[in-house]
């Protein structure tokens, strides 16, 4: 599988990724840096789309592994929600989830397609999914087709075709398709977004984000991810498989999809120095790993650089094997100042050095957005990666209940996730630059910002 995928990425990049409109690329000489363009024209602009308000948000939840279980718990702690149905292919996981419930809740399991029945119900407003990566887009698309708003764990899609299909479906059905990028609700991220909007950094020139998180033990554990799905992703693909955590907040600060747009990117992977070696060691005592001893594993460190239409750059990294402390970098650099999230949170506005702690604290306080003031403390108490999960979930429900635009829309879901496939293409083609598809069909030039961190609207929902 790995060989085929790579061979195909290198040679054509079209058929397996399932792009329609092949004829547009003619004789094959025109493929390449614009390969993932599509003739789609926006049928309805989902930017700042406000769906009718839903006082009680009836939820169907798909995928209650460890991540999904946490989401369900947090959703239930928010006013105006009701978990109507839960689905998981793994009955054990389903039963563990049900231990939380005193009230009856419908369940779906037993087949790979059980989630479809959940989506088809007519008493659900929102389908949330926390399934393995490859199911995210199919579930979102099917849910929208069945008249549901949908929210998905990251990444939202695993092919450019899926990205486009999500956009098309959302525009046609006028259903929200929200990417649950929790990091966008981190306190430092929210505060620096506010600083960017208030002009603290001057004009933004450059951003950096990363997912540096050693997952060797997680990915190689036989009783971790369902059927070793995450191990297999790393054993068959090469690129930045998980760009959203580093990219989301940077994209919001730069106004990507509303004011600026990503233009092209280049991507380079190192070789794999760790995973094949580990696989071979494990294969000696566990036959599962024997099938993978000759795989070309993902290069351990992937570095990509994105250029935007407004001339800014974004550097993104992905490394889930190296023994080093966690980092999303989260760097924003502008004509008047800089913020950096890792190794520790810092702000500077000159070459002379980072602000002293006292000054730093004062700046953080000054630029603390309303969303943190209103719900930050409660979200921290509810938990989930230090509160960011709760804050995100709270705001999602609050937006739906108030009938106001969601904060991360289908264009964000598609464009942030598209980095995965574009990086794979660039890596397979020796770092050749590749153009981004514009999922907004040009409307980024006039779209208005979302991510209403000052809570100019809504903010009325309570934690219970």
């Amino acid at each position: 599988m790995s060989f085929n995928r790579r061979d195909f990425l290198k040679k054509s990049g079209l058929a397996t990724l399932g792009l329609t409109g092949l004829s547009a690329f003619g004789n094959g000489k025109e493929k390449g840096p614009n390969e993932f363009k599509k003739d789609h024209e926006q049928v309805f602009n989902m930017n700042n789309y406000a769906a009718p308000p839903i006082d009680l948000v009836r939820i169907g939840f798909i995928g209650v592994g460890s991540r999904g279980r946490g989401h369900v718990r947090r959703l239930r702690s928010i006013e105006g929600t009701e978990i109507r149905a839960i689905c998981d292919v793994d009955e054990g996981a389903l039963n563990r989830m049900l231990e939380d419930f005193d009230e009856p809740v419908d369940t779906y399991t037993g087949s790979d397609d059980a989630w479809k029945e959940l989506c088809e119900r007519d008493d659900i407003d929102l389908v949330v999914n926390a399934t393995p990566w490859h199911l995210h887009a199919p579930i979102c698309i099917y849910a929208m087709e069945n008249g549901k708003h949908t929210a998905t764990e990251i990444p939202a899609a695993q092919s450019l075709e899926e990205c486009w299909k999500m956009v098309e479906t959302s525009e046609r059905t006028k259903k929200h398709c929200v990417i649950l990028e929790n990091v966008c609700y981190g306190e430092f991220e929210l505060t620096t977004l506010n600083m960017a909007r208030q002009g603290y950094f001057g004009e933004l020139i450059h951003g950096e984000g990363a997912y540096i998180h050693q997952l060797m033990s997680h990915n190689f554990t036989r009783d971790g991810y369902h059927e070793m799905w995450r191990f297999r992703e790393n054993a068959t693909r090469n690129g930045n498989l998980y760009p959203m955590h580093g990219l989301g907040s940077i994209a919001q600060s730069m106004g990507i999809n509303y004011g600026d747009q990503m233009k092209y990117m280049v991507s380079v992977s190192s070789d794999d120095f760790m995973m094949k070696k580990r696989t071979r060691e494990l294969a000696e005592s566990d036959s599962f790993f024997e099938d993978y001893v000759d795989n070309e594993f993902r290069g351990n460190m992937n570095t990509s650089i994105i250029k935007t239409f407004n001339g800014r750059t974004i550097m993104l990294q992905h490394d889930v094997t190296s023994p080093r402390p966690y980092s999303r970098i989260h760097l924003l650099s502008g004509t008047e100042g800089i913020a950096r999230g890792y190794p520790e949170e810092k702000i500077a506005n000159s070459h002379d050095g980072w602000l002293e702690q006292e000054e730093f604290d004062a700046v953080m306080e000054e630029y603390k957005p309303e969303i943190i003031k209103t719900a930050g403390e409660m979200a921290r108490r509810m938990g989930g990666h230090g509160g960011m999960d709760s804050l995100m979930t709270w705001r999602l429900i609050d937006c739906l209940r108030n009938g106001i635009p969601v904060e991360m829309d289908v264009y964000d879901a598609a464009s942030w996730s598209s980095v995965i496939m574009l990086s794979e293409w660039s890596v397979a083609n020796e770092a050749t630059p590749i153009h981004f598809p514009d999922f907004t069909s040009g409307s980024w030039k006039t779209n208005k910002p979302i991510m209403d961190i000052e809570l100019e609207r809504g903010g009325t929902t309570q934690f219970v």
Binding site: M301, I305, T432
Partner: protein, 454 residues
């Protein structure tokens, strides 16, 4: 070079590494590990006596076995003020002859028959021509960074050094910074396991210097920023990384891609200044270098290097920044080390590592070098080791291949930026010898170390 639009490339395979700097040159003599005959007293001629050259001259007077024979600058007063400085507190007597007043006067300095080493501290464009001419006249030569600004000049330096067997070294002082040498020692000791990735940069807000009318002769540095686009100053961030990865002596760079942001600052500044001072009018409509350039390099052994350049943004500086391997990671500013995902080593353990990996060169001359100074002592340490190697007839710490390769990142990044960030093959200046070359950068002082700091 204009932006070459997608689809108009004439290359055979558009979706692969481009190779515009291909050459047929084959090494005629391997300068890696080359030991020139020992020179007991190193007779020196110095060209370029601005701020940097004058500092170098003053530091040289503190090193045993140096005789400064000649000082050269286009401007008479610059040469004379350097002479005054070395005579103000002379530990040893030097009576250099002064060369000044014409564009070509430096050639006369190179042509003297009583000079062993020419040191070049001129504007960037002149480094390579001067180094080539000095070698042709039978002199060893060292230059400030970068040693060349074009790929052609890089090759000319290599060819000339190989043919004349004269040393040609770039004065890459950050390689002698404490943390850089500590990381190098740790890498060589296997502390990081196999090296996978490293990061370096030249992030240094130089706006006030580059726009100053008195800092750089005829505004040469602003002109560089106003006429080129890429990583113009790659060597400071790259040197230690290449030492750690054994580039040119065990691994080699394969290709790079480079992306520049737009300019958000220099054009604006030029306009502001021109509004009050017509002197700046010539800079008003220039295409200034994109403020931040990010370049990714991949090596033949599958490692990656992230290299950045930003000399305008108001942010704290970065040089060598990070090395990451299968067993650990080190990061600079502040210096820190980790062995796993759990966090950085506590201060105490880090101090132990600092102690353990203090290289012999620091133990022997670190304190004295700090007293003499120059970016915290690293300039003095570098000059001391240069003179010590020449006096002992042992290989220099950095070869001609190092200097040209590190410098070549500038024109290569310019090419990539100008061509819509296409990947570009990196010339192998060692003609394949990298696979078998021996390491340089002898920070443990296995040989030599007989020279005193006075």
């Amino acid at each position: 070079m204009g932006f070459v639009g997608i689809g108009v490339s004439s290359s055979e395979d558009e979706f692969a590494i481009q190779n515009p700097f291909k050459t047929d040159y084959e090494q005629v003599f391997n300068m890696s590990g080359y030991a020139a005959p020992p020179i007991e007293t190193v007779r020196v001629g110095i060209i370029g006596l601005g701020g940097r050259g004058t500092g170098t001259t003053a530091r040289l007077t503190r090193i045993e076995g140096v005789d400064i024979k000649a000082l050269c600058d286009l401007q008479q007063e610059a040469a004379e003020s350097a002479l005054e400085r070395i005579n103000s507190e002379p530990p040893l007597s030097h009576s250099p002859e002064i060369y000044a007043g014409t564009e070509d006067i430096w050639m006369e300095l190179c042509e003297r028959d009583d000079i062993d080493l020419v040191i070049v501290n001129t504007p960037w464009d002149l480094h390579a021509p001067m180094a080539i001419y000095a070698m042709e006249q039978g002199k060893h030569v060292v230059t400030e960074v970068p040693i060349a600004t074009t790929i052609d000049d890089c090759w000319e330096l290599v060819k000339t050094s190989e043919r004349t067997r004269q040393h040609c070294m770039m004065l890459s002082n950050p390689c002698y910074r404490d943390f850089d040498m500590m990381a190098l020692g740790m890498a060589r000791d296997g502390y990081f396991g196999e090296i996978i990735h490293a990061e370096g940069a030249y992030i240094h807000d130089l706006r006030h210097l580059n726009f100053s009318k008195t800092q750089y002769h005829d505004m040469w540095r602003l002109r560089q920023n106003a006429s080129r686009n890429g990583n113009l100053y790659p060597t400071h961030g790259l040197g230690t990384i290449c030492n750690i990865m054994d580039i040119n002596c065990g691994d080699q760079m394969s290709y790079l891609v480079s992306v520049s942001s737009n300019d958000f600052m220099m054009g604006e500044r030029a306009k502001e200044l021109a509004a009050e001072d017509p002197f700046f009018e010539e800079f008003v409509d220039k295409e200034f270098r994109g403020n931040i350039n990010s370049t990714i390099i991949r090596t033949h052994k599958g490692r990656t290097i992230l290299l950045q350049h930003d000399v305008t943004s108001p942010r704290p500086g970065i040089r060598f920044n990070l090395v990451s391997g299968t067993d650990g990671v080190a990061q600079a500013r502040p210096s820190r080390v980790a062995k796993n995902h759990d966090g950085w080593l506590p201060e105490e353990e880090f101090s132990d590592l600092q102690e353990q990996y203090t290289p012999e060169i620091s133990k022997q001359v670190g304190d004295l070098a700090r007293q003499v100074g120059g970016h915290g002592g690293m300039d003095t340490m570098m000059l001391w080791r240069l003179i010590d190697c020449l006096r002992n007839g042992i290989p220099l710490d950095m070869s001609v291949y190092d200097g040209v390769l590190w410098s070549a990142m500038a024109p290569l990044s310019e090419w990539s930026v100008a061509n819509g960030s296409k990947p570009v093959a990196i010339p192998d200046f060692t003609s394949g010898a990298w696979d078998t070359n021996e390491r340089g950068m002898d920070i443990e002082l296995r040989r030599g170390a007989t020279t005193n700091i006075i």
